[in-house]
């Protein structure tokens, strides 16, 4: 799940522990979330096993992004619960009560969950390297020197070696998103969440970002990717989840969901985007 593994090692077997593959990394149970009168999530259940890639598809407004944002507690859930690697997110359970965690503890939990935004959200006043070094140093108290070395290694991995000293706005959209991915990886998270990582990019830049994500998938990083790239889903996903109207309509391996959808709504959506 971390980067210490060699990129070439096959998924799941990477740790040499076969049991690892069955471990549930992200567990979403009966999650409801509303904004005012609008109910965006209406009881979502989702289990993601360690080392797996889950791609979430669905029409806009189906609650995909909101679901992703509840997993790292950028949005509080109204009902239900979420755990990552067995740890409840945003709450502490004692008996049959859930106690809200303090912000400090939530921030600590978030360092284990990488998040990549649609519009990158790089810090424009910091250089690429400073963007990557900031969180490991301030949140994980890593020595600056070590964080800088990690940053260089990660930049090389996303194909941006030598760009450490530039400012984000001097880079193309695709390069910025690759920096954002490296920034998320710098914390060595247990799971990576991608919120439409290529939607803000020019078509010719989409490929370079997807290549980086594919490379991560091959190295056994647990990922949940919200996207509209059906081809990417078919190629990389272990599980495809189709959401509509705030619920999971259908899920399964790409061959099942994309090629032989059982639900009418899935079929209707796919016929529009394929």
């Amino acid at each position: 799940m971390t980067l210490s593994k060699s990129p070439a090692s096959p998924k799941g077997a990477a740790d040499g522990t076969a049991g690892e593959t069955d471990r549930v990394m992200v567990d979403v149970r009966g999650v409801h979330k509303g904004f005012g009168p609008l109910e965006v999530l209406r009881g979502v259940d989702l289990r993601v096993r360690a080392g797996e890639v889950t791609v979430v598809l669905g029409p806009s407004g189906s609650g995909k992004s909101t679901l992703l944002r509840t997993i790292n507690h950028l949005e509080k859930v109204d009902r239900g619960w979420i755990s990552v690697d067995g740890e409840l997110i945003g709450y502490r359970r004692s008996g049959d009560k859930l106690y809200e965690l303090k912000e400090k503890e939530v921030l600590r939990q978030r360092t284990r969950i990488g998040f990549v935004f649609q519009d990158f959200n790089l810090f424009p006043h910091l250089t690429v390297e400073e963007n990557l070094v900031e969180a490991p140093v301030s949140a994980l108290r890593r020595p600056r020197k070590e964080a800088r070395e990690t940053a260089r290694r990660l930049l090389e991995r996303v194909g941006l070696a030598g760009r450490a000293g530039t400012y984000p706005r001097q880079l193309s959209g695709g390069q910025q998103q690759r920096v954002a991915i490296a920034r998320a990886l710098a914390l060595e998270p247990k799971v990576l969440l991608f919120d439409e990582p290529t939607s803000a990019l020019d078509p010719e830049l989409v490929g370079e970002v997807l290549d980086v994500i594919k490379d991560l998938a091959r190295s056994g990083t647990t990922m949940i990717v919200v996207t509209h790239e059906i081809g990417f889903a078919r190629e990389v996903a272990d599980t495809v989840v189709f959401m509509d109207g705030g619920v999971v309509v259908e899920q399964g391996p790409p061959s099942a969901v994309l090629d032989n959808p059982r639900q009418e709504r899935t079929r209707a959506f796919l016929s529009k985007v394929l």
Binding site: L107, H125, A135
Partner: protein, 345 residues
């Protein structure tokens, strides 16, 4: 555009000859490049410029010849010990009130933005009150603090006092002025800082939160540096305003620039030259602040543009280089137009 047009035409022969004789529309046989462009005339603009020049000349002549300005007196006092010391006091007051005012203002700004209604209301009330009281009224209040509270003490609220001090000895005259200026400044600074913080894209905070960066660090490292771009122009105004605003504390008989100038002309009767002395110092100090502001703004603009604009110094150096290049060109016979344009950049 005119020089470029004629320059471009230069290699193809005598431009005036082809331009004058070429008949028909610009797309005629000669092509647009070979026509001479006659710039539009602006007689009204010339007349206005002339009028302004005459007025400026008159004013300058008056400055030089009118004996009332008493330039020798001005020169005598400009760097006199009293005045230089007074400038020091003015700078001290400005510096203290700026630092304290903006520190308190930043705290107030984040109180107003906080989710706690008590903190937000408290900050709002502070800003409301201190923006409502004229600075001079507030200063006189602080000056008379000892009349309001004879002793200031630390202790349990509504309970026994553990430590106390005579308010006159705690807050001297200068102290009262600094407190008054700072509290006044804080109310304005709070709104300026809040405006800057609100202008930072929400995604920045979300990204910082998603990375688990501690809250205070988010503010100091991510939000404030970006907010500075919106804060600085307004803050620059405030600091300049404060520098001149310190002249108000003359009511407390503090030896700052304006007070000392008054003392001197009260004694000598040389009002005009001494007012000029004060004016000169205020202009110089404000100019220094303006230059400082330019460079501070530039510092916080890093990363905002793909290529940062050159500083005036860099621009001066560049035009000097261009001039030298032009001088060198004059010795050479014929230069292709493309090179000319390239070097002008």
């Amino acid at each position: 555009m005119r020089p470029t047009a004629t320059t471009a035409a230069a290699p193809s022969g005598d431009p005036s000859a082809t331009g004058a004789t070429a008949p028909g529309p610009p797309s005629g046989p000669g092509g647009p490049g070979s026509l001479t462009v006659v710039p539009a005339r602006h007689p009204a603009r010339w007349a206005a410029a002339l009028a302004v020049a005459v007025l400026a000349a008159q004013f300058t002549h008056g400055l030089a010849t009118n004996p009332v300005w008493e330039w020798d007196v001005f020169r005598g006092y400009l760097f006199s010990e009293t005045i230089v010391q007074a400038v020091g006091v003015t700078l001290q007051l400005t510096a203290c009130a700026t630092v304290l005012g903006f520190l308190l203002g930043t705290v107030l700004a984040f109180m107003r933005l906080s989710r706690s209604p008590v903190l937000a209301t408290a900050a709002w009330t502070y800003i409301w009150i201190f923006r409502s009281i004229p600075m001079i009224v507030q200063l006189v209040f602080w000056f008379n603090l000892s009349a309001l509270y004879e002793e200031l003490g630390l202790g349990i609220p509504f309970g026994p006092v553990l430590w106390s001090v005579d308010s006159d000895s705690l807050i001297g005259t200068i102290g009262a002025a600094v407190v008054g200026l700072s509290l006044h400044q804080a109310a304005y600074a709070a709104e300026i800082v809040r405006g800057g913080v609100v202008s930072v894209d929400h995604g920045q905070l979300e990204a910082a939160a998603a990375l688990g960066i501690p809250r205070l660090r988010q503010i100091r490292r991510i939000v404030l540096p970006q907010a500075m771009r919106a804060i600085l122009p307004a803050a620059g105004n405030e600091v300049v305003g404060l520098l001149k605003g310190t002249s108000v504390v003359y009511v407390m008989a503090i030896g700052e620039l304006f007070y000392q100038v008054q003392v001197v002309y009260g004694r000598t009767g040389r009002v005009i030259p001494l007012l000029l002395v004060a004016t000169a110092w205020y202009v110089v100090l404000t100019s220094v602040l303006s230059v400082a502001q330019y460079y501070v703004e530039r510092h916080f603009a890093r990363g905002a543009d793909r290529t940062p604009p050159p500083t005036p110094l860099q621009r001066a150096r560049r035009s000097l280089r261009a001039l030298r290049a032009a001088a060198a060109r004059r010795d050479r016979p014929v230069v292709p137009a493309a090179t000319l344009r390239g070097e002008n950049r």
